[in-house]
């Protein structure tokens, strides 16, 4: 018998934010998945042993069925905001509009050293500003400009010498948009938005596999990790309610922007960006768990799911140079000498800024209560001591308006 196997990278996951519960949408965001991405039909069943005079199992009954996804990726700036919104919750995105939002008054050619714009709003200060030209088109280019703009309208803005020697790389058309970044500030909210997730397994390129669309998915866990020399990675876990097979796979569309790298990061630990710990972070993880509560009533599948209590855990490894953090965590202060009651409270902020000065993401755990400083272990391998630090994000007894905040600068002008 002849059969055709399917290569295991013939797969995609697509996400679409639903307008309302129960109404699935076609996916629009297809983050490039990495190994570790998985899909599971979580079927709960029970054995039915009935007293029929035999020792035989009568049957197995399904109690509940739902879908679990795990998605691993290195998200681009707009995909990242989607994941953050899903994890933070409905209404979590506060948009600060771009300070510059105008158009080109005339076309510009490759190698142009300046552009002509219709309005100078946001271009009257001094210094430099990163602008995205012709956003969303094949001519899209993020370049650095020197301000203030000159002229009486239209206005001239010069390309900064720090960008490509002061010359544009691409040509741009008259009336193309000229915009600064849009800032999305996301904080944890009461409940999450529903998403539709579609997975194709072996169905792309006319493959014989399957495409399954799952509605009413919520983000259960979002983990952000970084290691030296690597991309910033997102690992999300989702739970969905109801499935429908699709006759054909979706049209997969990919975001055409760069990823964030670990070496783009700047750390501020406990308010300092210059302390030994802040300048020696060897790895970090920020994990948020929404502890979903899935509600099942009369049907095999759930009716709804809601966010439960929020857990926000931070862990980071630093180079051990002094006992200060250890004393702070266990002995009550930087020079403590014995077990002490008070919890050591600090904060954890890390910002990743793309060298284009446009794309940036900043993670802020405003109050972190340190619960562990470990890993300071003697070893005979000739390597350095390290500290493995664990902290929990808290509301500081309600004083803070959020446990965690993510601020993303990207090119999407509307709220996620």
């Amino acid at each position: 018998m002849v059969y055709v196997p399917v290569r295991s990278d013939n797969a995609y996951l697509g996400f679409g934010k639903q307008v309302s519960q129960g109404t699935a949408v076609a996916p629009t965001v297809f983050p490039r998945w990495l190994d570790g991405t998985s899909f599971e039909m979580d079927l709960k069943a029970e054995d039915l042993w009935e007293g029929d005079g035999t020792r035989r199992l009568a049957q197995v009954i399904k109690n509940h069925q739902k879908v679990k996804f795990k998605h691993v990726c290195t998200p681009r700036m707009n995909e990242m905001a989607m994941f953050e919104q899903a994890a933070m919750g409905s209404g979590s995105d506060t948009v600060t509009p771009a300070t510059v939002n105008t158009t080109l008054s005339s076309s510009s050619s490759i190698g142009a050293t300046s552009i002509s714009v219709a309005a100078n709003t946001g271009l009257t200060g001094s210094g430099t500003i990163a602008l995205i030209l012709s956003a969303g088109t094949v001519r899209e280019e993020i370049a650095l400009f020197t301000i203030p703009a000159t002229g009486a309208g239209p206005y001239t803005v010069n390309v900064n010498a720090g960008y490509n020697g002061g010359q544009l790389k691409l040509a741009h058309n008259s009336a193309d948009t000229v915009q600064a970044f849009t800032l999305h500030t996301l904080t944890d909210q009461s409940d999450g938005s529903y998403y539709t997730i579609e997975i194709g397994l072996g169905s792309l390129f006319s493959g014989p596999g399957m495409t399954i669309r799952v509605r009413d998915c919520k983000c259960a866990v979002l983990k952000v990790t970084g290691k030296p020399g690597m991309e910033i990675q997102y690992e999300s876990e989702w739970e969905g309610i109801a499935c429908a097979t699709q006759g054909s796979p979706a049209t997969v569309t990919l975001e055409a922007h760069p990823v964030f790298l670990y070496q783009m990061g700047t750390w501020t630990v406990d308010g300092s960006s210059v302390s030994n710990d802040a300048v020696s972070v060897e790895a970090f993880t920020i994990e948020r768990k929404n502890n979903l509560d899935v509600v099942q009533t009369e049907k095999l599948i759930a009716d709804a799911s809601i966010f439960g209590n929020l857990n926000c855990d931070v862990s980071f490894d630093t180079v051990f140079t002094a006992g200060t953090r250890f004393f702070n965590t266990y002995f009550g202060g930087p020079t403590g000498t014995a077990d002490a009651q008070p919890i050591f409270a600090g904060s954890f902020v890390v910002a990743f800024a793309n060298p284009d000065n446009f794309e940036q993401v900043t993670y802020t755990v405003q109050t972190a209560h340190y619960t562990k400083v470990g890993g300071i272990e003697p070893k005979k391998d000739g390597k350095h001591f390290k500290q493995v630090i664990a902290a929990t994000g808290v509301s500081n007894s309600g004083a803070n308006t959020y446990v965690m905040q993510t601020a993303i600068q990207n090119s999407t002008t509307t709220a996620f």
Partner: protein
């Protein structure tokens, strides 16, 4: 025609904010010609699967015993259920899926090619061993979006 590559496709304009990159494959412009670039700019019109643009309707068995019935692209209701409000339709098992939010249907004329043969939509098989919902004796009517009865 069975091999018509444009069968089931409709012209759709990209209205999102950001540049998109299509996964490698064959894509068509609104005039039916093959696209030479996988980059999609804001304003580009390309041929996309109809159900991705205008959504689709599936009628499920709420108790999960019978196979669901795929009613087709768009917002559809069987003749016997016309006039019911959204809540009633949902209780019957209707699931209306919306299309992509970053593309909009273009109502320009279709490319000048032979019209494909319209086939009745096949039921979506969810549990092959289960008895099927009665087969479609007629095409379900497409109605305007049903407003919820106050």
């Amino acid at each position: 025609m069975a091999n018509d590559p444009l069968s089931g496709l409709v012209p759709a304009r990209y209205v999102g904010d950001n540049l998109l990159q299509l996964q490698p494959g064959r894509y068509y412009n609104a005039d039916g010609t093959l696209r030479t670039s996988n980059i999609v700019s804001k304003g580009d019109v390309l041929m996309m699967p109809e159900q991705e643009i205008i959504g689709q309707t599936i009628l499920f068995d709420p108790r999960g015993y019978n196979n669901p019935l795929y009613l087709g692209a768009g917002h559809r209701v069987l003749p016997e259920h016309q006039g019911l409000d959204q809540r009633s339709l949902a209780l019957l098992g209707y699931e209306h899926h919306l299309g992509r939010s970053d593309f909009e249907l273009v109502t320009a004329s279709q490319p000048a090619i032979a019209e494909p043969v319209q086939e009745a939509p096949a039921p979506v098989e969810q549990a092959p061993e289960q008895p099927t919902v009665e087969q479609q004796a007629e095409q379900p009517e497409t109605v305007e979006k049903v407003d919820e009865v106050a």
